[in-house]
């Protein structure tokens, strides 16, 4: 009988992902400052309804139990509910993340009736003040309204999903109270310097002291609070948090983006982590045959972290967090609880200044950027302290071109009653 642990087995990859994130669209009615997929405008190359159904057929065949659908704001796709129904009819469960824009009374009732659909409402502040500074004016009220509809429809156990930031790290008890009030479950996840998150990482990521408080809070709340296994870098504080405590990228998780590109994880939208596209041969072929995934499933040495006594706990932390902060993938996480990540970043900054006066534009940029070009109603950051202007390197031109097919308001055509 094998003496390998499950983690060791999982690190070598599975025949199909356990947890697959599928971003259905880059279109979004909001413009959150930390959006990990730099969403805003619909991509004209988005998978069609038929192509999406073919993906679902594949997932059914591979026995992927459920998909985490996100975006963008997935519910603004006109075929969203059709795809949800198609997936659940094919025994592929759906958990979707939404800012709540489409969760009215009727939708809430429909959702409450299905065992196969779970809903995750994004909220990044227990108060409108904290939330709206990141997600945009009115977004707190929108999320609360959605929760009220879900609760009224009898949907218990939906998720309130919070990205922990420096600004909301002191509100954990308030978030928990909010979840309890609506019969929901709180889910806390880690801020990543991915997508537009790279631009605000230095201002938003929790301080070392907050990380420690978060860890203690999570330990105290145990299984009542979900984390998506995203704080495994904190395991080095001592007791491991519940979960696998490993990086699942390309091993047990991956991302399918709106145009069918498959990335190792939702936080790594960059060509370095692009495994292939489902339009060339299907998802199964990418998952099984991608050289990138094969590499990720191979043994990892631990690099600079190998000699650390806590390496077995934190496994060097999050690959994406390291990559987008310019740190080597085999070194410490930028939020290494022992401070080695901060130290490495400081050394990196010094070295770069000495070389060429380089600034953070030298850091890797997300591979695709669908951020809105123009102002978005309620957009955070407008009129506040200037944030770095996103520099686009890649497929999108920097200067705003004339209106294109993908630039239309993602909500166009969906407004109930046609009120404009």
């Amino acid at each position: 009988m094998s003496t390998q642990t499950l983690v060791e087995l999982f690190e070598r990859g599975l025949d199909a992902p356990i947890c697959l994130t599928w971003e259905l669209t880059y279109a979004c009615n909001l413009a959150c400052v930390h959006c990990l997929s730099s969403s805003g405008r619909r991509d004209p190359g988005e998978l069609s309804t038929a192509e999406c159904k073919a993906v679902i057929d594949t997932l059914e065949r591979m026995q992927v139990f459920y998909v985490n659908i996100g975006g963008g704001e997935p519910t603004v796709r006109p075929d969203f509910w059709e795809l949800v129904d198609y997936a659940t009819a094919h025994r592929v469960g759906v958990k979707f993340s939404t800012n709540g824009v489409r969760i009215d009374e009727a939708v809430a009732r429909k959702l409450a009736a299905s065992d196969y659909v779970d809903v995750q409402i994004s909220l990044d502040g227990a108060t409108a003040e904290v939330n709206d500074a990141v997600r945009g004016q009115g977004s707190h009220a929108m999320a609360i309204r959605a929760m009220e509809h879900l609760a009224a429809a009898g949907f218990t156990g939906f998720k309130i999903s919070v990205v922990v930031t420096r600004q909301n790290a002191g509100q954990l008890d308030e978030f928990k109270a909010l979840a309890d009030r609506y019969g929901a479950q709180l889910r806390l996840t880690r801020l990543r310097p991915s997508g537009r998150g790279a631009d605000v990482w230095d201002e938003l990521h929790p301080t070392a002291a907050q990380q420690r408080q978060l860890y203690d809070w999570l330990c105290a709340h145990g299984e009542q609070v979900l984390t998506g296994d995203s704080f495994f870098h904190l395991a080095a504080y001592g007791e491991a948090l519940p979960g696998l405590n490993m990086c699942g990228a390309g091993r047990v998780v991956c991302l399918i983006d709106p145009v069918g590109d498959v990335y190792a994880c939702p936080f790594a939208i960059h060509e370095n982590f692009l495994a292939g596209n489902i339009r060339a041969g299907g998802f199964e072929a990418v998952w099984r045959d991608s050289p990138l995934f094969a590499e990720l499933r191979g043994p990892s040495a631990g690099g600079a972290c190998a000699s650390c006594q806590f390496y077995d706990s934190c496994r060097g932390g999050c690959m994406a967090a390291k990559f987008f902060t310019g740190l080597p993938l085999d070194g410490p996480d930028p939020e290494c609880v022992r401070g080695f990540g901060e130290q490495a970043r400081a050394e990196r900054a010094l070295a770069e200044q000495a070389l060429a006066g380089a600034d953070r534009t030298a850091l890797p940029r997300p591979g695709v950027d669908h951020s809105h070009h123009g102002p978005v109603r309620g957009q955070p950051g407008r009129g506040q302290a200037a944030r770095p202007v996103p520099v686009t390197i890649g497929r999108r031109p920097v200067a705003a071109p004339p209106d294109r097919a993908c630039d239309v308001n993602p909500l166009a055509g969906f407004a109930a009653g046609g009120a404009g």
Binding site: S2, L6, F65, G93, R187, G243, N245
Partner: protein, 124 residues
């Protein structure tokens, strides 16, 4: 540890739940085993999907949205055939479990029962 317990470790799909850091055993291995009745008939809950894997299988319960693992193929055979046997013990025996190894399978089944992956069925 010399053997990998055959039983189920549970994992919440969103946040991996009661799996100890070694990823090998139920958190409370001594707990539910005594309560599990090996001598009555059981079956897989109809809301549970089973996905065979080289190491055993993954189980997912659509109602509770929890994931579980079977850590070897014998346990998979037991779970899959539960409904065909008059008792869980008979299913284990048919899958090749020796009397001396029964306790480990009883513990694994207890974990599955506690999480509603398997459910008692009325005796025929």
């Amino acid at each position: 540890m010399s053997t990998d317990p055959p039983g189920a470790a549970l994992l919440n799909p969103v946040r991996a739940a009661p799996l100890n850091p070694a990823g090998a055993a139920p958190l409370n291995p001594a707990g539910p085993a005594h309560a599990f009745d090996l001598d009555r008939p059981w079956r897989l809950d109809e809301r549970v999907a089973v996905r065979p894997e080289p190491f055993g299988a993954l189980l997912y319960h659509f109602g509770t949205r929890r994931l579980s693992f079977l850590k070897n193929t014998t346990m998979l055979a037991v779970v899959r055939s539960l409904a065909e046997h008059p008792s869980a013990r008979a299913a284990c025996t048919a899958a090749g479990v020796q009397p001396g190894g029964m306790a480990a399978y009883q513990r694994g089944l207890a974990v599955l029962a506690e999480s509603h992956m398997i459910t008692p069925q009325a005796a025929a």
